[in-house]
Symmetry: C2
Subunit: 440 residues, 2 copies
C-alpha cells in the first residue's frame, strides 16, 4: 500500500505540528488555514498570548527537531507564586526537583516556527486564507473557499485531518453521523487578558521564574512571564453576578475593584483600565466527542477533538501528544482505518481524563491554592515523593511524565488509598504501642 495523501485543515499549533511530523515521514501534505498568513502583517487575535509547555509537548517538538530552539526562547516556571489579598507572597515549587519546570512560550512565535518548518519541506504545501466550508467524509476531502479570490478549492488528499479547533467545521459535519457522541459545555466563568509591561529600563516587575496566581476563592487572576520582561495576566471571573465581569463598567469601578482584590498587581499595570475595557471577555469551553475518526478517511486532533479548559496547562501539550500518537499509529499500522481507530480509541480516554482534570484544577487553583491546607498537602506530597519509592504526585505525573492522562488519574487514586491505609495503620500501631506502654 502506498501512503495516503494528507490534507490538514487548520494550521494552528496542532495542525502545523502534524504537518511537520507527516512531512518528515515522507507524506504528501497540504495544510490549509482560515486566517491570513501572520507574516503578511494582518492581525491575528482571539487566542491566549502565551502557553505553558511541558514534557508531552517538549517530547513532540523533540521528535520533529525543534525542542531546543523552542526552549531557548521560553521562560522557565519551576513553581507557583501565590499572591494573597494583602500582597503577601508564597512560593510553591511544582516538583521536588527544582530543575523541573513548565515553560512559558509565545503562542504566535511557536505557531510561526512550526508553520515555517513544515513549509520548508518539499512535500508540504501551506495555504493561508482558506476557509473550510464543506466536507466530503466518504472521500476524505474538504471544500474550501479562498478568502482573497472567493474561488472554491477542493483538497486533493485521501486522508483528511481536522485540526480546525474547538469550533471545527469537520467535527460539525461528523456530528450529523448516526451514533456520533458530542458534547459542548461552557463554564459560567469567562476570561480576559491584561498586561504587566516590562520594568522601566527592561527586566521583570515581579518574579520572572514563576506562574503567578491571585486566588480569590470563586475567581482568580494568573500571570505568565514573556521573554521581553512583560507578563500576560488572565482574569478568570464569572460573566455575571458577584465578582462578575458585568459588574465593572466605569473606570472607577475597574480601578477600585482591582485595588481591593489585587492591590499588589495594580502598581504594575499602568494600562489596566484601557486593557480591561478594550480586550474581549471570552468564554471557556469543554468539547468531548466520539469517535474521533471516520473510516480510513477523516480524523480529528487537538481542540477539534477535545477542547479543554486551560487550568491544567495541558491543552497544547495534549494536542501535541495527539500528533505524536497519530504519527505513531500511522507508522505502526499499514491499514489507515486500523491506524485511525487505534489512535481514536486510545486518545479519547486520555482526553476525557484531561478534561476532568482541567475542570477540577480550576477549583483547586482559585479556591484552594491560597489556603494553608493546600500548602500543607503539597508539602506532604513533596515529602512522600522524595522518600517513598514509587510515589509520584498527580501534578508531577501529568506535567513531568508522559504517562497517559487516564493512567495518571488511576495511579493517583491508588496511591492516595495506599497512603491513607499507611497512615491509619501507623495510627493503629502507635495507639497499640501507647496502650502497651501505659499498661501496668
Amino acid at each position: 500500500m502506498s501512503k495516503p495523501r494528507v490534507t490538514i485543515v487548520g494550521a494552528g499549533l496542532g495542525g502545523a505540528l502534524m504537518a511537520c511530523y507527516l512531512g518528515r515521514a515522507g507524506y504528501e501534505v497540504e495544510l490549509f488555514e482560515r486566517r491570513p498568513d501572520p507574516r503578511s502583517g494582518k492581525v491575528v487575535g482571539g487566542r491566549s498570548i502565551n502557553l505553558a509547555l511541558s514534557i508531552r509537548g517538549i517530547h513532540a517538538l523533540h521528535e520533529v527537531g525543534l525542542a531546543d530552539q523552542v526552549l531557548a526562547l521560553a521562560v522557565r516556571m519551576p513553581g507557583r507564586m501565590i499572591h494573597a489579598p494583602d500582597g503577601r507572597l508564597s512560593y510553591q515549587p511544582y516538583d521536588k526537583d527544582p530543575d523541573r519546570a513548565i515553560n512559558s512560550v509565545s503562542r504566535a512565535g511557536l505557531n510561526q516556527l512550526l508553520v515555517e518548518t513544515a513549509e520548508r519541506m518539499p512535500n508540504v504545501t501551506v495555504r493561508f486564507d482558506h476557509r473550510c466550508q464543506d466536507v466530503d467524509l466518504d472521500g476524505g476531502r474538504a471544500v474550501l473557499v479562498d478568502n482573497e479570490s472567493g474561488a472554491e478549492v477542493r483538497s486533493t488528499g485521501d486522508l483528511l485531518i481536522g485540526a480546525d479547533g474547538a469550533f471545527s467545521a469537520i467535527r460539525a459535519r461528523m456530528q450529523r453521523l448516526d451514533r456520533f457522541d458530542y458534547q459542548q459545555a461552557y463554564l459560567a466563568h469567562g476570561y480576559k487578558e491584561l498586561t504587566i509591561p516590562p520594568a522601566t529600563g527592561g527586566g521583570f516587575r515581579i518574579e520572572r521564574n514563576a506562574l503567578h496566581i491571585w486566588p480569590r476563592r470563586s475567581y482568580m487572576m494568573i500571570a505568565l512571564p514573556n521573554p521581553d520582561g512583560s507578563f500576560t495576566c488572565t482574569c478568570f471571573w464569572p460573566f455575571s453576578g458577584p465578582n462578575g465581569f458585568d459588574r465593572l463598567q466605569t473606570d472607577e469601578q475597574i480601578m477600585s475593584y482591582f485595588e481591593t482584590h489585587f492591590p499588589d498587581a495594580v502598581p504594575h499595570m499602568p494600562t489596566l483600565v484601557d486593557d480591561f475595557k478594550t480586550n474581549p471577555t471570552s468564554s471557556l469551553l469543554t468539547v468531548r466527542c466520539a469517535p474521533w475518526h471516520y473510516r480510513d478517511r477523516v480524523v480529528l486532533l487537538g481542540d477539534a477533538a477535545h477542547a479543554v479548559v486551560p487550568f491544567y496547562g495541558q491543552g497544547m501539550n495534549c494536542a501535541f501528544e495527539d500528533c505524536t500518537e497519530l504519527n505513531r499509529c500511522l507508522q505502526q499500522h499499514v491499514d489507515v482505518g486500523t491506524a485511525l481507530a487505534s489512535y481514536s480509541a486510545a486518545r479519547k480516554e486520555n482526553a476525557d481524563a484531561l478534561a476532568d482534570l482541567a475542570l477540577h484544577n480550576f477549583i483547586e487553583m482559585r479556591d484552594h491554592s491560597g489556603s494553608a491546607a493546600f500548602r500543607a498537602r503539597k508539602a506532604i506530597e513533596r515529602i512522600l515523593h522524595r522518600f517513598v519509592p514509587g510515589y509520584t504526585p498527580l501534578y508531577t505525573m501529568v506535567t513531568f511524565t508522559r504517562t497517559p492522562y487516564s493512567e495518571t488519574v488511576r495511579k493517583a487514586r491508588h496511591q492516595d488509598r495506599v497512603v491513607l491505609w499507611a497512615l491509619l495503620s501507623l495510627v493503629f500501631v502507635v495507639g497499640v504501642a501507647v496502650i502497651l506502654a501505659v499498661l501496668p
Copy 2:
C-alpha cells in the same frame, strides 16, 4: 402589547399540540412540516408506531379538548406482563389502584388528530412539505424550502418555536451561539420494530391490557397493544457483539435466536423473519441543551430540546407538558422574553431529570424486571403506597401524577431514606425486645 405572531417548525406531536394551544389562545400561528401530508397517501415512516400516553399527556390533551376522543381509541395497560425465557408469565400492576393505567395510542392517528384540530382554527395555517433550511435567530424567522416547487419561503411570525425533533435545524443554529451547552449521546443499543398480528378471526393473541416485556438482562423485547388486535414489538438489543443485531444475518440465525430467547412469542409472529430483515435498526439518542430559548425570539420544545430514550414511556408526555408550560408562561408573562426564560429554566431541570430516569429504567426493565428481587421490591412499594400515608412510588409519581420530574426524583430519594431508617429502627427495637425477653 399585542400577541406575537408565531411560527412553529415541526408538526409532529409536540408542534401540532402547541399549535392547538396557541390557536385556542387566539395567536396567529403558521405551522410548517418537512414531511408530506400523511393524508396525501405518501408514506411517512421512521418513528415508533405506538406510544404510552399517561397523565401529563392526558392533561395537555384535556386542555385542548381532545382527551376523551384520544382515550376512546387507546388500549389501556394497567400493568406489565413479564415473559420468562421458559414462557412463564407474571403480571405486575403499575399501581395499587387497578384503575390507573398507561394507554397505548397510535402515533400516526394522534398526530393526525392534532394537526386537523389545529387546521380547523381560522388563525392557524398548516403547510406540509416545507423543510427548514436556515434560521434568523434575531428576527425569530425561519427560511424554508417548499419541497414541491423548490421555492424559498420565509416565515412571517416574530416568535419561532422549534418543534423539529431530535435533529432540530433550529437547535443546530442555536448550537453556534456563544455559551450554548449541548450534548448528544447514543446508546450502544439500537431498536427494531416487529409485529404480532391480530388473531385469526380478530382479537388479541396475547393479553390485551398489558405492556409486555421479555427481559433478558443485557437486552429485551417489549410489545404494546394496538386497537386492531395487533401488537407492535420492539427489540432493544446491542448493535454488535454478544446478542447484537449484527449477529443475525440469515433466516436460520433469526429463527433460531428467537426460538431460543423468545420461544413463547415466535408462534405469534408469522412474519418475523421478513420483518426482521426489512425493518430498519434505529439508534437511541439522548439530547440535552441549554438554554432552550433565544431572547424573545426563539424557543425549543419536545425532542428538539430534550430527546430521551423511550424506557420510561415519557417522551411524548414530557413534550406535551412542555406545551402546557410554554402556553402557561406565555399567558402569565406579558413580556415574551420573560415568558421564554421562565419556561426554559423550569423545563430544563425537569427534562434532565427525565433523561436520567429513562436511561436508568432501561437497565431496570431489561436486567431486573424479570427477577424475584424486582417483584419483591415492587410488592413492598405497593404495600407502603397502600398503608403509609404520603408514600408514593417513583413510577407512580412519574406516570400518574403531574409532579415535576425533578421533584419526583427528590421525593423518591427522601422517602427511600425514611423507609430505610424506619426498617433499621424496627430491626433495632425488635432486637432490643428479644434481648430483654431472653435476659434472665
